[in-house]
Subunit: 347 residues, 2 copies
């Protein structure tokens, strides 16, 4: 039997997420025929090793997608808006890492552990959710399936790498300035394109992405709207407060949920999480076992701990959920969507 292979393109191949997509494709022996690495003019011409092959990065253009089976887009919303529909028209399935198409009704928004069935409806374009949304969905899926979840209140503890390599560099520079008793210079966080910038080192910024008219940030509204779409449940109550912190990688989330079923114990919640796909339970107060962002970095699963019953609402539970925002929060979930397409013969 000859194993089927697929021609793959990565748009944004030289970026942080693009690089990680390449690493994961290689690690997981993804069945690749030809691999095209695409970028802006600035990075074109670079040579990158994939397996034992040297590949030259080409400029992404309207003519890049003929013969491509799967195109991973991770070069910002504008590039996706311009080129992704062209790639689809040329016969590629696009898996888009930007927010450009996530809330488009004709585009499935996929966390494979939760809603891979929605892939069956795809029309060529598939969206990868926001990093903070993905890890919450993976952790809550087994609980929702077993006991129902009708309410979520989440406060996030997000890493700077979610804002790109320049934000990581900014934290590094500010830390050195702080240690040397110099004034910290801020040009990127909380949002590069916004009017004001504040230091992130030794600080907490309660703004991720720009503010919307209702006083919530775009990041908070992504968590709210994308979670409802992924769970295909418009009736869930969801509230989010998103905060950037001086952490390099891995997002943490303090999550309060209310479930449908009465009389459920912490032990039962732990049990369904222990058996769940993509989740690792780290929850034992007696041995101080709980997830932390440093320990979760470069790991594939989503880690869950600090599970407690609310002291007043018997359907209420609190938990602490941590995941690598660049892996499961971005590159890994993207590749898993492609794997799921292949497994279900949808490509």
């Amino acid at each position: 039997m000859v194993k089927k292979v697929y021609n793959v393109a990565i748009v944004g191949a030289t970026g942080a997420v693009g690089q990680r997509i390449m690493d994961i494709l290689q690690d997981k022996n993804f069945p690749i025929g030809e691999l095209k690495l695409l970028s802006s003019e600035r990075s074109a011409g670079k040579k990158i090793m994939f397996n034992d092959q040297e590949i030259t990065v080409e400029v992404a253009s309207e003519n890049s997608f003929s013969g491509v089976d799967i195109a991973f887009f991770s070069a910002g919303g504008e590039i996706s808006t311009t080129l992704a529909p062209i790639a689809v028209k040329q016969g590629a399935i696009v898996i888009d890492n930007t927010s450009a198409y996530r809330m488009d009704e004709s585009v499935p928004l996929i966390v494979p552990e939760v809603n891979s069935d929605d892939l069956k409806e795809h029309q060529g374009m598939i969206a990868n959710p926001n990093c903070s949304t993905i890890q919450m969905a993976v952790a809550l899926q087994p609980i929702k399936e077993s006991f129902g979840v009708n309410r979520i209140v989440v406060s996030t503890y997000q890493a700077v790498s979610g804002a790109g390599l320049a934000a990581e560099k900014e934290l590094e520079n500010q830390t050195k300035q702080y240690i040397n008793d110099e004034e910290m210079s801020a040009e990127i966080l909380p949002v590069g394109s916004d009017k004001k910038h504040f230091p992130i080192a030794y600080n907490a910024l309660p703004q991720i992405d720009v503010f919307e008219d209702n006083g919530y940030t775009a990041e908070e509204m992504k968590m709210i709207n994308e979670t409802k779409k992924i769970f295909n449940d418009e009736t869930m109550s969801i509230a989010a407060t998103c905060v950037r912190l001086p952490i390099v990688t891995s997002h943490s989330e303090s999550i309060y949920i209310e479930i449908d079923q009465k009389g459920v114990s912490v032990a039962q919640i732990r049990e369904v999480l222990e058996d769940a796909e993509g989740v690792v339970l780290q929850d034992d107060p007696n041995t101080q076992t709980y997830p932390t962002p440093l320990a979760a970095t470069n790991k594939e699963p989503i880690f869950v701990g600090r599970i407690r019953k609310d002291l007043d609402n018997e359907r209420g539970f609190h938990m602490w959920v941590v995941g690598d925002n660049l892996l499961k929060g971005a590159a890994l979930n993207t590749v898993q969507i492609a794997q799921s397409l292949i497994e279900n013969k949808l490509v």
Copy 2:
């Protein structure tokens, strides 16, 4: 008219909070007759300037409190348990900064903006609440008074200085180790006396204080129980998740509340906060105005921003509350209790 003066003792005078109490007494021209600085044997003999007077630190003992009107205790629970009752017996009013007496029914637990009336019942001992409790109580008091608050879900973002000078030093050392690509050594956080220690630099630790049998940490239970006592309201539902972060000073809190009254707007919440004692409103998404721990450090008030109505529960509101944990969270509140005693002729 001769201004009345009071003989004051500070137990734990050489510690971080003791030092700040001295600074505040001096800044506020507290009416001091004689000032006694007390400490363990290790620090006794040190000479400290207060106003223009050099004071020699003495060993705190059973014989330290004769003639003392007000004794500030800030040297750990054990010292308070041993010496505070003796100080009271010798006629001093004790204002205790430890958790030793906070939940004692005969001891008022005071945030002056909220419940200074409870001082009238004092029997010589008064307790200063936990830092994360104080700032939440100050922010919620005006809202509770105007609209009723029956439910709180809080996730904290707490600074290392809350764990003492050694924890601050640990963050500094780990940061340098991280920058130099060395392994980080952890000996103090999350809890010096607990079994395991984890790095705090570039990390988030969902444990402050030890775990209790119900899976909550002692810090979380302090926030829950102390808040009920300060508001004199056992019926409030309160849940807390407490997290330590690589921030030097000032705690932040993501707070969700449900109020009694229907139809209240964000504008109305802002209005009562604007007029409130001890609160500064910093809340304008259009100009990216919101509190941050770096900006709140060395400031006296509690800062409130990011006020939003919940999208599903019309009695639900979210907000972001920041305060200097060493000032209003500790030393300042302690001195304000003493000022309130004097104003109300209770000393």
